[in-house]
Symmetry: C2
Subunit: 272 residues, 2 copies
């Protein structure tokens, strides 16, 4: 890929920056894409939340590293865009897939705002190359540990109402419950959000039986991994936290030999 | 992991079989999990659809290989279960993530039926160890190439009505359209199914504007990769086939600098 030149008065070609937005996968190194490892190794500057950088500390010995805390996403994304625009090779890391509830959107949004501003003035600028490296998200990881719950149509819903009104989230829960989707809940609970999971369960139960299979995966492919099977009825009796992914089966999902399996299809009421 | 012994009259411990159900990712080797490569390398028998096995032919030189055609899923899954139950190290491969519309469900279903039958008779049997290795699915891959369309709640829907009545699929499309999910369409069209994508578009347009952003990714991270941006209004003017993943934005998804970006949240109508 080649950086796109803006403006016409360039005399000397400066170094074209590069920005990789990388998902580290669930945590276990052998589930991280080799392409993700490569772009980290080739970066001069690696930016991320402290916990994720600890996960790849062996790859960072010769690099500039910018560590920040959980809520500083805008700061991290802005630094990544500015550094790449100044010609550096930069990598910003997320857990899971940076493209699923990850950092990719914020970084690309800040980048495009900056590009649009730059396009409005006369100074020549080389835009950095940008690459989003896909990864194994919590839904891929949790599903593989539970068995095969995502063999049919599914929806991913975050229960975090920090940036989304609860009415929108509630409407989504009801919609997918009524249309018999398998449902993957991200951010089911946090230190400051306690009631949303119970409310989600209540909305799901308006359309789905209490016996519906539910899989709980905490710390998938990390230290302290815990995989549990329960039902909608008993969901709230389990310890669920911000490191847990909750997978709620559709009306045909069954537990067989300790594994959660959703059939591939329906035929006149019969499972396939 | 250790195989679970069934029955009490075992005199000599036979070899415990092993069965890995593996997603190869989108195609490019550096997006395939190292764990997937390892279990293929350690297998005696590798089973898969011809096209997927060609993709990993360099890993298969010293192995028994069972190649079959696209529709023979039950045959492949049964062979995998029987061979592992006979004590062999077996790997069955899917593209993308074996756990998302992949082979994992069918294999685990056949395995559990066999286990339940065996549990009913007296002969001693060692169950094979089973591992589902997660991978990068079409939704992860397409999303990374489009920008960041999956930053907020989304639904995956297959338009194949071979195993699912169209009425169920139509109900799901309407449900997620009305609740403003980003929508990822798997199997939008095949040689024998032509009208479903048009009908899906019609149902989506009942709840969403014609200007809604749509991303089309054909052969993600493979030869012939094609990434296109359009709108719901113009969707049917594009060449879409069984190798295409269709990503339909929510009401806030925008195209900026050629990338599809869904904001992280809503706040009083304002995008975040």
């Amino acid at each position: 890929m080649v950086g796109k030149r803006k403006g016409e008065h360039m005399l000397h070609a400066p170094h074209v920056g590069y920005l990789a937005i990388v998902g580290l996968g669930p945590g276990q190194r052998d589930l991280m894409a080799p392409r993700a490892i490569q772009v980290i190794q080739e970066a001069e500057l690696v930016i991320g939340y402290r916990v994720y950088l600890e996960q790849i500390h062996d790859l960072l010995s010769d690099k500039d590293v910018h560590v920040s805390e959980l809520t500083h996403e805008v700061e991290r994304a802005t630094l990544a865009v500015q550094s790449a625009s100044a010609g550096r090779r930069v990598c910003i890391v997320s857990s899971g897939d940076a493209g699923i509830y990850g950092m990719a959107g914020l970084v690309l949004d800040i980048f495009s705002r900056q590009s649009e501003e730059i396009a409005g003035n006369a100074s020549p600028v080389l835009e950095p190359d940008i690459e989003v490296v896909p990864g194994i998200s919590a839904l891929n990881a949790a599903s593989s540990l539970l068995g095969a719950p995502l063999m049919h149509d599914f929806a991913a819903i975050s229960l975090s109402d920090l940036l989304t009104p609860w009415t929108t989230i509630a409407q989504r829960l009801s919609a997918v419950a009524s249309a018999d989707f398998v449902v993957v809940l991200y951010n089911p609970i946090s230190r400051k959000r306690h009631w949303q999971l119970g409310e989600a369960r209540r909305l799901l139960l308006e359309h789905r039986a209490g016996t519906t299979s539910v899989g709980l995966v905490r710390n998938a492919y990390r230290e302290g991994q815990k995989v549990q099977l329960t039902t909608l009825e008993h969901l709230l009796e389990y310890d669920i936290d911000m490191f847990t992914t909750v997978v709620i089966g559709n009306s045909c999902t069954r537990v067989r030999q300790g594994r959660m399996i959703t059939p591939r299809g329906y035929e006149q009421g019969r499972l396939l």
